[in-house]
């Protein structure tokens, strides 16, 4: 859903007469949680407000889903700060909304929508500062709304939120989690956020005296001492930032990067620094005529770190350095400071150009060496000095200006000061502070005098040279010009500040850092998926072939977050459970406080019986129940498998004289092992020619079912087949139970549950190839191992007889050949892997089915008296 739609939806939500200017998707960051919100700027007349909205669905599909959570009127209590500047490939931007004591941090998505929103937000809040003169903005229209949280409550509420980290015992409500709150994964960002919130606890402050000076020297040489400017105070400053403009206007300066003037002025500056202390240079940066040098007192020098400089030209072609700004940034103890010396566009009418220069310097100044690079705004303290070139608005006549100046009445003129004006309008230097100006304009003088420019241009004197600052805990002590300097058409300006510099107490820092981490760990562990199961041991009753048993397992989410569980594969296993087990569901989601019951079904069928009978597998498995993102629980599944003739090879059955239940498990395994190890099957000696179980079933059908309609086609009953199984496994004096249909099905099942089909897998391909030629098929049969061959011929003869009763049983050769073709020539297990459901695969399968049927039908139709001899010749 596009933003337009959301804006429209919210427009429906607000009262008639109120207008939604902009609406964006944002994430509310509350400690470790991130929740989806919508932010909307809503106006009514002159006043505006920020609405924080939630939605039942993300994105919302109807007005009803939208709920107004909070409303912040854009009044004097409202403040918003951009946490980081959006860059093309930069991080998301954060907007911190401050209202009285409440602070909410929102993350906006990158993109034009968010950029638009932020500029709207700034514009709307900027209006407020413009209106600050008018005490009363009308916010009555907001009374008609009923947000979830009222501002009056907000103070208490934020205390509570702030406490989460201090008191992790406060449970985070499940509702908010269910609504899409989620763990804030960015641990480092979280630690940073919390450390900065606790900054006061591990920092002390030390007050530094900061001297900032600026002078447009109009291309003149440093022929005078600078002490009257730089060292006119009693106390020596801790930090000096001295900026010059028009240091060198020679054309060479544009081309050649070094200028002898730089060195001369630097020397002169160092001569002029306060004698009461020793200073060391921190950085020097020059771009053509703009020079900025920063010094600190020697004793502070070791605490100055991460010094970086940058310069931005905004002059000719927006690149040349005749105009622009040079900047020095550094960290002293734990306060970051940025000094910017700029020379903005000249001339009264170029006010817009100056604003643009300011914005360009802000935008383009970038201190590399940080990731992402830092901008000017990313500093705790910013001092902006320079020839900003803002003039007196032509609205005040030059003579009037000069008249006021003669009487040293500055305020009326300052009303017409372009910088003040642009600041108020929000066009430049919005967040910067400037101290009251109580000195003569610094421009333009006739060089060598204190007289106003007499060039006849009739320009009004102006405060071109200014010093502004931004940052908490900075107090200005002095702001003045230095009229004694006459070598330039500008007078130098200086300002002295007392700035609180934060010093980190390492011991305290470590302690608090560890505390924050511990609490984060605690929260993290609390928010890990947690679950219990009602049992870790699933025990089945003795399991019989084809007898389904079901157990249940209940998983309870006793943690704080929704969980996703799934059974996972163990090393070396192909699946997450053995093929005799079914788990339903094997993966699912469970909400906190809820449970999920899983069915575990054990069913030993024709595929899994052989391994269990032969002792190659056991009814035992350890299941790994994995909580995604969290712990594992082991579930042991066990049962005793009741051995059966089903899943026992024909050879073994032929070798066992009595019922299989009476045979020792070891003997069975031994026979199966011998069979596996030999290529020719078991010795015929001492065995029945065909397994007695096959004989029992066929004999029963022979006696009772030859005329039964649709024998083998109509299915039997599961319960009867189970009874037949028991009868075969244990023997009984009772007649064989069940209908002939069930007996027929049991026969098919018995033949299908062996490890190897009657025609072994290795003969499979060859058999299909030669299926059309009887003699070739016969040869394959002749070469079968003894018992397999016997069973094959025995069954074929039985089927032939069955066909002879086709008038009664309605069976034909084709039907029986197709059915038994699939049994005698069972698809090798590796064939299943290609059945991808593609057309040609199905087609090929059909061909296979037809060929198998052809193979078998030879033996049902061909009159071949030698066929019986195959059996009799190898009799016992």
């Amino acid at each position: 859903m596009s933003s337009v739609d959301i804006t429209n939806l919210v427009q429906w939500k607000v009262n008639p007469g109120d207008t939604v200017i902009s609406c964006v998707n944002a994430s509310l960051m509350q400690d470790w949680l991130r929740m989806t919100r919508y932010l909307a700027i809503v106006t009514n007349g002159c006043s505006a407000a920020l609405f924080v909205l939630t939605s039942a669905n993300v994105p919302p599909t109807s007005v009803q889903e939208i709920n107004i959570e909070r409303i912040f009127p854009f009044d004097l209590n409202f403040k918003c700060d951009l946490e980081s500047e959006a860059k093309d490939d930069g991080p998301d931007r954060f907007v911190a909304i401050t209202y009285q004591k409440l602070i909410l941090l929102f993350e906006l998505e990158l993109g034009d929508k968010s950029n638009m929103f932020v500029s709207e937000l700034y514009e709307a809040t900027g209006k407020v500062s413009e209106e600050r003169g008018n005490e009363f903005l009308e916010f009555g229209w907001l009374q008609k709304y009923n947000p979830s949280f009222r501002i009056e409550q907000s103070d208490e509420e934020i205390e509570e939120q702030d406490d989460i980290i201090d008191n992790p015992e406060i449970p985070i409500n499940r509702e908010s989690l269910a609504k899409g709150a989620s763990l804030l994964a960015m641990r480092e960002a979280a630690i940073k956020f919390h450390m900065s919130k606790k900054e006061a606890e591990y920092t002390n402050t030390q007050t530094f005296r900061v001297f900032v000076g600026t002078w447009n020297v109009n291309n003149h040489l440093p022929t005078v001492s600078l002490q009257d400017w730089l060292a006119c105070d009693i106390d020596p400053p801790d930090i000096y930032a001295v900026g010059f403009q028009e240091l060198d206007l020679s054309t060479v300066a544009y081309v050649v990067s070094d200028s002898p003037r730089e060195e001369e002025w630097r020397f002169q500056v160092e001569q002029g620094l306060h004698q009461g202390a020793e200073y060391k240079k921190v950085a020097l940066i020059r771009l053509i005529g703009m020079l900025l040098i920063v010094y600190v007192r020697k004793e502070h020098f070791n605490h100055v770190k991460k010094v970086h400089v940058d310069s931005v030209g905004t002059g000719i072609l927006s690149k040349m350095g005749n105009k622009g700004g040079v900047s020095v940034r550094m960290e002293i103890h734990n306060t970051s400071i940025c000094f910017v010396n700029s020379h903005l566009a000249a001339h009264v009418v170029e006010c817009e150009r100056r604003n643009q220069d300011y914005k360009d310097i802000c935008r383009r100044t970038s201190f590399s060496g940080f990731s992402p690079p830092l901008a000017i705004r990313d500093h705790d303290h910013i001092y902006w000095l320079g020839d900003l070139n803002y003039r007196i608005i032509p609205g005040m006549d030059v003579d009037v200006v000069k008249d006021y100046l003669a009487r040293k009445k500055f305020p009326p003129i300052l009303e017409y000061d372009q910088l003040n004006h642009q600041k108020r309008k929000g066009n430049a230097f919005i967040d910067f502070k400037e101290g009251p100006i109580d000195f003569m304009p610094t421009y333009k003088y006739d060089v060598g005098t204190d007289n106003w420019d007499s060039s006849g241009k009739e320009r009004a004197p102006a405060w071109c040279d200014r010093i502004l600052w931004k940052g908490d805990s900075i107090r200005q002590l002095e702001y003045r010009s230095h009229q004694v300097y006459r070598i330039s058409d500008h007078k130098p300006v200086s300002a002295v500040f007392l700035a609180d510099i934060k010093k980190v107490d390492n011991a305290k820092w470590r302690k608090i850092h560890e505390e924050v981490m511990k609490q984060l760990d605690k929260l993290e562990n609390e928010f890990l998926p947690q679950a219990t199961v009602d049992t870790t041991e699933i025990k089945f009753n003795p399991v019989n072939f084809l007898e389904l048993q079901t157990r249940s397992l209940t998983i309870a989410n006793n943690g704080q977050v929704p969980i996703k569980f799934k059974f996972v594969k163990k090393p070396k296993d192909v699946n997450y459970c053995k093929d005799w087990l079914t788990i339903d569901p094997f993966t699912s989601d469970i909400n906190p406080g809820e449970t999920c019951t899983i069915r575990l079904e054990v069913l030993v069928d024709k595929k899994s019986a052989y391994k269990l009978n032969s002792g190659q597998d056991q009814l035992y498995d350890i299941l790994v129940l994995h909580l995604v993102g969290g712990r594992d629980i082991f579930i042991t599944v066990a049962g005793e498998y009741e051995r059966s003739c089903f899943g026992t090879s024909l050879e073994t059955l032929a070798h066992i004289p009595g019922p299989i239940k009476e045979v020792h498990a070891g003997r069975l395994s031994e026979l199966e092992r011998q069979l596996r190890d030999s290529s020719q099957g078991l010795e015929a000696v001492g065995s029945y020619p065909v397994p007695k179980e096959v004989w029992f079933l066929v004999d029963h059908l022979h006696r009772h079912g030859m005329k039964t309609n649709q024998l083998f086609i109509q299915s039997g009953l599961t319960s009867e087949i189970e009874a037949i199984r028991t009868w075969l496994d244990c023997w009984s004096l009772d007649p064989m139970p069940g209908s002939v249909y069930s007996v027929a099905e049991a026969l098919v099942l018995l033949l299908e549950s062996t490890a190897e089909p009657i025609i072994p897998y290795e003969c499979y391909s060859k058999s299909l190839e030669v299926a059309h030629t009887y003699q070739m098929c016969k040869k394959i049969v002749q070469e079968l191992p003894f018992h397999k061959k016997n069973v094959f011929i025995y069954l074929c003869l039985f089927l032939r007889e069955l066909v002879s009763h086709s008038d009664d049983n309605k069976l034909d050769v084709n039907t029986l050949a197709t059915l038994f073709g699939g049994i005698f020539l069972r698809d090798p297990p590796w064939h299943k892997k290609v059945s991808a459901g593609k057309y040609w695969v199905t087609n090929q399968q059909n061909t296979f089915i037809r060929r198998k049927a052809t193979f078998v039908s030879h033996f049902l139709t061909t009159d071949d008296p030698t066929l019986c001899q195959i059996v009799s010749t190898s009799g016992q």
Partner: protein, 210 residues
């Protein structure tokens, strides 16, 4: 709101690195693996700690010099029948604590086979610590300190006798591992998601398809 460049670290020290390591606890059943973890992570001790059937997962952070080491701890089931599942947990682990019970010689023997298995099957650079737990029951001792120490030295294992009950050497053994682990850039992962689900949820939420 502090600025991005705001003071996060004492001046003059490098930016805090966060390294994340997978640590697995192995050892005979009832030697106190879960108790060690519980003591380390939550500072608690339960006299009758339930037997772990599965593998418990917890995270805990320790600070070593300028590095923050975050352990992803897998506390495994000690019962023999779960032995074949152990590779699931020590595979990819950068650290292991093999625990035995100082009052039970058999568990020390079992610990040795675990060490052998790790040396053979686990990552070649795995940091292994041998912990002789229940050191508070020294009067019932059957594994001598010197014996274990000699074995540990021979096999280049970190070694400590610990007590989850009295907390003796519990933090220390984890700290010793944290110190020994290589803190190269490979393991420095400033924004490793706490868990992938949560992380994915965030992505999904941010993308707006929920």
């Amino acid at each position: 709101m502090a600025n991005r460049s705001g003071p996060q670290r004492p001046n003059g020290t490098a930016q805090a690195k966060i390294c994340q390591f997978k640590l697995v606890l192995l050892g005979e059943s009832a030697v106190g693996k879960s108790s060690l973890v519980l003591r380390f992570v939550k500072g608690q001790f339960h006299e009758f700690q339930e037997s772990t059937i599965g593998a418990a997962f917890l995270t805990q952070t320790v600070c070593v010099d300028d590095t923050t080491v975050k352990f992803e701890i897998w506390d495994t089931a000690g019962q023999e029948r779960y032995h074949s599942l152990a590779p699931m947990y020590y595979r990819g682990a950068q650290a292991a604590i093999v625990v035995y019970d100082v009052t039970n010689q058999d568990t020390f023997g079992r610990a040795k086979t675990w060490v052998k298995e790790l040396q053979r099957q686990a990552s070649p650079n795995i940091v292994i610590a041998l912990a002789g737990n229940k050191a508070d029951l020294a009067n019932k001792r059957s594994v001598e300190l010197e014996e274990a120490q000699a074995y540990a030295e021979e096999n280049q294992l970190l070694f400590m006798e610990t007590s989850a009950k009295t907390a003796k050497n519990v933090n220390e053994v984890f700290l010793a591992i944290a110190k020994k682990l290589p803190k190269n850039d490979q393991n420095v992962n400033p924004s490793v998601p706490v868990n992938i689900t949560a992380w994915l949820t965030i992505c999904v939420l941010r993308a707006g398809h929920f």
